[in-house]
């Protein structure tokens, strides 16, 4: 089996805050292979963005990695110094964000922003960077790229801005693309176009993509494998088909039935009681136990086992469905 491009092992992250220590992530492990799309699915506040930021090295200063490794292309990102991380960011690992209009610099033209990245990493002259920028704009299917090169972000729609962000992210041909809720706030037709564009680029460039989303339906369509996160813990991971046909963790099962599709009836739509536990408190082994209908005292008496459900499909639970 080929070595994965990215391998996160037992990542545990804490945040110092005035109200105490927030245990944001606990023992997160996952792997991402080249040419595939991995979905990180969870509610807002479950720690998905913290995971993304720690991989790209943009974790908030208040955050501390207390254990674990992040191995990218056989190197541990966490042991790198700032200069090495800077050289990786934008070139080998790229990221696109939510709210594209506000993620772009409002006082620089979109062409300049793409060129900035190219010049910074490939150290090309500004002339060739200009041509490369036009080419990237055309690649993400922005009409009339030569004219749009001079446009400012406020002149473009949300969908267009997201395309520009994708162009910026892909300009140095990264090996890993992290997409943090890239289509939240966009119209459904724009969402489809953007996601199809990302998928096309992933396969054509043999890139690995990590899609972070709270929308299970979106992940189902676009991801090859899905990792489900709840309150900073990975509860289940596996190939999309297997995960949907046999959701083993109670949380995954509930998420599946809570996501409406074109066939769901209102009566069948479920919800998940309670909310995420307070991450500042002392937490039990299973952070879902407060909301789980299958909970038993035995669940929290020891660290949870990692149970194999099917090929590459694992659930971290003592009483899987």
């Amino acid at each position: 089996m080929k070595a994965p491009l990215l391998s996160v092992n037992g990542l545990t992250i804490e945040f110092r805050s005035r109200a105490g220590t927030v245990h944001a992530l606990e023992g997160v492990s996952l792997r991402v292979d080249r040419g595939t799309t991995t979905g990180i699915v969870g509610e807002s506040g479950s720690g998905k963005s913290v995971l993304a930021y720690s991989i790209i090295g943009l974790l908030d200063r208040a955050g501390r990695v207390t254990s674990g490794t992040i191995v990218f292309d056989d190197r541990d990102i966490l042991t790198m110094n700032e200069a090495e991380r800077d050289s990786i960011r934008g070139r080998d690992i790229s990221m696109i964000f939510q709210n594209p209009s506000s993620a772009l610099n409002p006082i620089r033209t979109i062409g300049q922003q793409i060129e900035d990245v190219i010049v910074c990493h490939r150290l090309q002259s500004s002339r060739t960077a200009y041509d490369a920028a036009i080419e990237m704009l055309a690649r993400v299917r922005i009409p009339d790229p030569t004219r749009r090169h001079r446009a400012y972000p406020f002149e473009l729609s949300g969908g267009m801005c997201q395309r520009v962000m994708i162009a910026t992210a892909l300009s140095c041909s990264p090996q890993l693309l992290i997409a943090d809720e890239p289509t939240t706030g966009l119209d459904v037709t724009t969402q489809a176009a953007i996601m199809d564009l990302i998928r096309e680029q992933t396969t054509s460039r043999r890139m690995a993509t990590m899609l972070i989303t709270h929308d299970l339906g979106l992940a189902a369509e676009y991801c090859d494998q899905i990792v489900v996160i709840h309150a900073g813990q990975v509860v289940e991971s596996g190939p999309t088909k297997s995960l949907f046909q046999h959701p083993a963790h109670p949380y995954t099962a509930k998420l599946v039935t809570a996501t409406p599709t074109l066939d769901t009836r209102l009566e069948d739509l479920t919800s998940i009681e309670g909310g995420l536990p307070d991450l500042r408190r002392e937490l039990p082994y299973c952070r879902f136990s407060g909301r789980c209908s299958r909970f038993e005292k035995a669940c929290n008496e020891a660290p949870l086992p990692r149970i194999r459900i099917a090929e590459d499909h694992f659930a971290v639970c003592r009483r899987p469905v």
């Binding site: 509610e43 009409p143 119209d187 459904v188 037709t189 489809a192 199809d196 676009y222 769901t264 998940i272």
Partner: protein, 333 residues
Amino acid sequence: MTPHLEVTDLRKLYPVGAARGRSLIKRFFGPQHMLHAVDGISFSIEQGESVGLVGESGCGKSTVVRLISRLIDPTSGTILFRGHKIDDIPARRFSASPYRRDIQIVFQDPTGSLNPRYTARATIADPLRRLMRMRSRRDVNRRVSEIAEMVGLPIELLSRFPHQLSGGQRARVGIGRAIAVEPSLLILDEPTSSLDVSVQAIILHLLADLRRRLKISFLFVSHDLNVVRLLCDRIVVMYLGRIVEIGCARDVLSAPGHPYSKALVSAIPSGIQTNTTRGHLTGEARSPVDPEPNICRFFGRCPQGSDRCMREEPVLRPVNADRLVACHFASET
């Protein structure tokens, strides 16, 4: 029976080009550009019916919401509520009209629509005091507690401020505020779009339940077609200020008639069934400013298109017993 709400040829135009900033010459001699936010729509809602209004950003749904709820005045057209004309009461004075109580809105963003300095109790109590003339604190509190129970909000949360409540709890406060005065028409402006899917179902069930119990009519505005299908009897599809399709929700979503509706339905992530041929809409939408009168608004983005689309704007026409589509190709099938 008279429809609960009947909208005829409703239009809302906004002047653009910053009338203030233009030079005197331009202001008096140049043409005034108008943005056609809502450009002649007509539809109705029957008593107890739930109608979904879908379309993308810029299609005019938010403007329709504000026109029907009389927060803004229409440029032209009529709005009949229970047979009475309400479009001629100016928006500024509508708060004092007897109809104010009967039409309420559940707003989209619970965070922005709750006053940060008002507790949940004060938020729900405000319309009770203003519209139902409740004076005594005891009566008001009793009714607020009733409402809290109806929407599933624990009583102890009533003294909290919005920032101390979760997204789902804020959504309940917003719903409670809207139904407190017993309206007969409830407009829901994307009520679950900012909620996590784990909470969405609870709110949807709550809304369905309230509709049954209180016999309210709904105008459900959303961009999420799955959610609309769950709660709505009929669906109205808008594009660039016009209605392009009206029909029974289930039928429109399973067999859409207008190319735009088709694009909307095919854009929904279809789960694990990949490889659906998805026709992408090319290019960008036409400008809503001074639209050309004789071209179909969807022409250019539409996967289909003919000479007729460039010469003649399609009219909303019935294609069978309960479906209306505004497309030259639809009436031919």
